[in-house]
């Protein structure tokens, strides 16, 4: 903490400062910033609790009651059938895993590459990872016919003398998702420690107890910081391959199957890019909401951050389009009869509008709108675009799973899929995600204050002749 940031008079560097808003070169005293964050956590209107209550009811009814009903009745209350054995449950699983990728990507990848604009919203993204994964896990358990036996997927010595089948992509999945959940939770927790300590020092009552326990006695000594930095560095590097592997393995669930349209070697990276597409878009949406509803957040999350995320979204959208085109072309060019039928079913079947919607939302919308910096820096627009991209990505999974499952190599069995209780359960997972996020926003500083402060300390504007440049001082 050797560097001290100098306040820069806004008048002098107005034009530069504007372009560097994402670096937040207008630092405030630490105490004030800490207080701002604490205030954002504690300022809770009755509206918040009203919404939380409603969401709680939705979660109770749509998730737990509906799931209990489905467990007791069997999957017949859902829309799955032959041949669409997998339905919206798996769509939601893939979707939520996709959402969960944003956290790691935004946080770990940008941290590794020292992308400075990440600082104020890494926490928000990391929370998405953990909460999204919880929804993904719930969705995949809902999908199981006998969820009460799901512990058989875990490798442990047992009285039956049986192990899981490690040939099965689902067994890989089980391990990968669990690893990812564990790793991402730890990765969420590590950067949280200094903030928890900060919160501990500024709270009273039961909160203090909670923070005291969670902060693990962090006092902010040099040694502690050094250890924390090392740990975070290790995790940031280690979690990236985990992240890529998780979605690649999810993609292998499909790619390893011998089905027309699924057996594609490109599915791994295609799914990863798709996950980032929806994930980053979801981060943008969350930031809009957080900025709009929580106190003091307009200081931390600025239009320039949206601008930066918008650029990222545009690039990812291009990447997704590249993979989509690549996959489509190879499938089409392959000339397999069943694949051709499948593509025809996608494009002109009764659910072709979903396929079309996917392309519009995933490609057309970002490509046409995100070129424009004004649109990129408007939270409202970004929210809408993020929403559309998420709709598009959900449609992509819907096309890949239930719509594609209609077509197989036995035309006598082709049958369309009509969702049933999965819609309710899907709403339940969404509500649960939002609820978890809302509750967390009251318990956990949504902005990593120390990280922002660190950034502000590291950056300063220096004049070289007539030019003003941003200087970065090494932190270590």
């Amino acid at each position: 903490m050797a560097a001290t940031a100098k306040p820069i008079a806004p008048a002098t560097h107005e034009e530069h400062a504007e372009s560097r808003q994402h670096l937040m070169l207008d630092p405030r005293p630490r105490g004030e910033m800490n207080a701002m964050v604490m205030e954002s956590m504690h300022t809770t209107s009755w509206k918040f609790w009203g919404i939380a209550f409603l969401l709680g009811i939705v979660v109770l009814v749509c998730l737990f009651l509906a799931w209990g009903y489905m467990i007791s009745e069997g999957l017949g209350v859902a829309g799955v059938n032959r041949p669409a054995y997998w339905g919206i449950f798996l769509v939601n699983t893939v979707f939520w895993i996709g959402i969960s990728h944003a956290g790691t990507f935004v946080s770990a990848l940008l941290r590794v590459f020292k992308a400075e604009f990440r600082r104020p919203f890494t926490r928000a993204a990391e929370l998405m990872t953990t909460f999204g994964l919880i929804q993904a896990g719930l969705s995949i358990f809902m999908h199981m016919g006998r969820v009460w036996l799901s512990y058989w997927l875990a490798p442990y010595p047992n009285a039956r003398g049986l192990w899981p089948n490690f040939h099965s992509p689902l067994a890989w999945d089980f391990l990968a998702i669990n690893t990812y959940l564990l790793a991402s939770t730890m990765y969420l927790f590590l950067p949280l420690i200094p903030d928890l300590a900060m919160a501990r020092d500024r709270s009273t009552g039961w909160r203090k107890v909670v923070y005291r326990v969670l902060a693990l006695g962090f006092r902010g000594t040099e040694g502690e910081w050094a250890h924390l930095r090392t740990a975070m560095n290790i995790f940031a590097f280690a979690i990236l391959p985990v992240m890529f592997s998780v979605h690649t393995i999810v993609a292998w669930d499909f790619a390893a199957a011998s089905r027309p349209g699924w057996s594609s070697t490109i599915f791994g990276p295609y799914f990863v890019v798709g996950a980032l597409h929806s994930g980053v878009a979801a981060v943008a949406m969350v930031l809009v909401v957080v900025r709009g509803t929580m106190k003091n957040m307009k200081y931390f999350i600025r239009a320039e951050h949206f601008d930066a995320i918008g650029k990222l979204m545009l690039v990812i959208s291009m990447g997704w389009a590249y993979f989509f085109f690549n996959d489509y072309l190879v499938q089409w060019y392959g000339g397999d009869h069943w694949t051709h039928t499948l593509l025809a079913w996608h494009e002109s079947g009764p659910l072709a509008w979903i396929w079309g919607l996917m392309l519009v939302c995933n490609v057309a919308v970002p490509w046409f709108l995100l070129w424009n910096r004004k649109i990129r820096s408007r939270p409202g627009w970004m929210f809408v675009i993020g929403l559309l991209i998420n709709v598009g990505m959900w449609c992509e999974r819907y096309v890949i799973i239930p719509i594609s499952l209609t077509i197989n190599r036995m035309p006598f069995t082709w049958q369309s899929y009509r969702p049933g209780i999965e819609i309710v359960l899907g709403i339940g997972t969404l509500a649960f995600f939002i609820l978890l996020y809302m509750l967390a926003s009251r318990l956990v500083p949504l902005v990593p204050v120390w990280e922002v402060q660190e950034g502000q300390m590291a950056h300063s504007l220096r004049k070289f002749g007539r030019k003003t440049v941003v200087s970065v001082s090494e932190l270590e």
């Binding site: 009745e73 069997g74 999957l75 017949g76 209350v77 799955v80 059938n81 032959r82 041949p83 669409a84 054995y85 997998w86 999908h143 199981m144 016919g145 006998r146 969820v147 036996l149 799901s150 058989w152 997927l153 049986l162 192990w163 899981p164 089948n165 040939h167 099965s168 992509p169 689902l170 067994a171 089980f174 669930d253 390893a256 199957a257 011998s258 089905r259 499952l405 197989n408 190599r409 036995m410 035309p411 006598f412 069995t413 049958q415 009509r418």
Partner: protein, 243 residues
């Protein structure tokens, strides 16, 4: 013969002569009665949830009046030598029986991921979407040799493995080899035209082996390399033809 396990037990196989199949569905009902298959009712049946382990497929060719249905094709689990359903099951519920050279579904081990069914190119697997209980005294006719499945379990044709195991046990108890045709699954047993023939493929003299050498023999989706144990005889019969 590279794999010593190939010689273990028996290799069971089936030949279905489509020239003889009349599409009468006797196999479908016989299978249901033997294997405790539950009926699902109109609504679920309309939605692709019926539980028949064997179905008789037919398509249409041409336009009226030259229209013709394609030869009836009973489709059941093909008992692949390289079964796509087996590696994908995370809990070994869909496993290869090295002893009988068939694919078996261990109901009590199934957790219901339905991956096997997705991966089955023949769509021969069916899933218990609900607890399709047989009401009232109908359950008196349940076969005690076959597990009654409840909701959330994948099931499929087993080549009537309960009959195979019992037949083997009887033969072993009597200290003899099994005769050709001693054990037949319910479908072959019922088939009025004997279009379905069942037997040992590892015995070159068995009827099923002889029929498999017929020039009309094809296998479903051969190009996938699943090595099915079920062979179809397509096209006009050549039995008794001169030369």
């Amino acid at each position: 013969m590279s794999n010593p396990l190939e010689e273990v037990g028996h290799k069971w196989g089936m030949v279905i002569d489509q020239d003889l199949c009349t599409g009468c569905q006797a196999c479908v009902t016989a299978c249901a009665m033997e294997n405790n298959i539950a009926f699902v009712g109109e609504q679920d049946a309309a939605y692709g949830r019926s539980l028949q382990w064997i179905r008789v497929e037919r398509f249409w060719e041409g336009e009226f009046p030259e229209v013709k249905s394609t030869p009836f094709q009973p489709v059941l689990c093909q008992q692949c030598g390289q079964a796509p359903c087996e590696p994908v099951c995370p809990v070994y519920a869909s496993v290869h029986s090295e002893n009988q050279q068939i694919n078996i579904q261990v109901y009590n081990r199934c957790v219901g991921t339905r991956y096997c069914a997705n991966n089955c190119p023949y769509q021969a697997r069916v899933f218990n979407w609900r607890d399709y209980r047989e009401p009232g005294p109908l359950d008196n006719a349940l076969n005690p040799d076959v597990t009654v499945r409840r909701r959330g379990i994948m099931e499929k044709c087993t080549f009537c493995v309960q009959r195979i195991v019992q037949g083997e046990d009887t033969a072993r108890a009597e200290g003899r080899q099994m005769a050709d045709g001693e054990v037949v699954p319910a479908c072959a047993q019922a088939c009025p035209t004997e279009a379905i023939v069942f037997g040992r493929l590892d015995d070159p003299d068995s009827l099923v082996s002889r029929l498999k050498r017929d020039g009309r023999a094809v296998q479903l989706l051969e190009e996938l390399g699943t090595q099915p144990s079920v062979t179809y005889l397509k096209g006009g019969s050549s039995y008794g033809r001169n030369g």
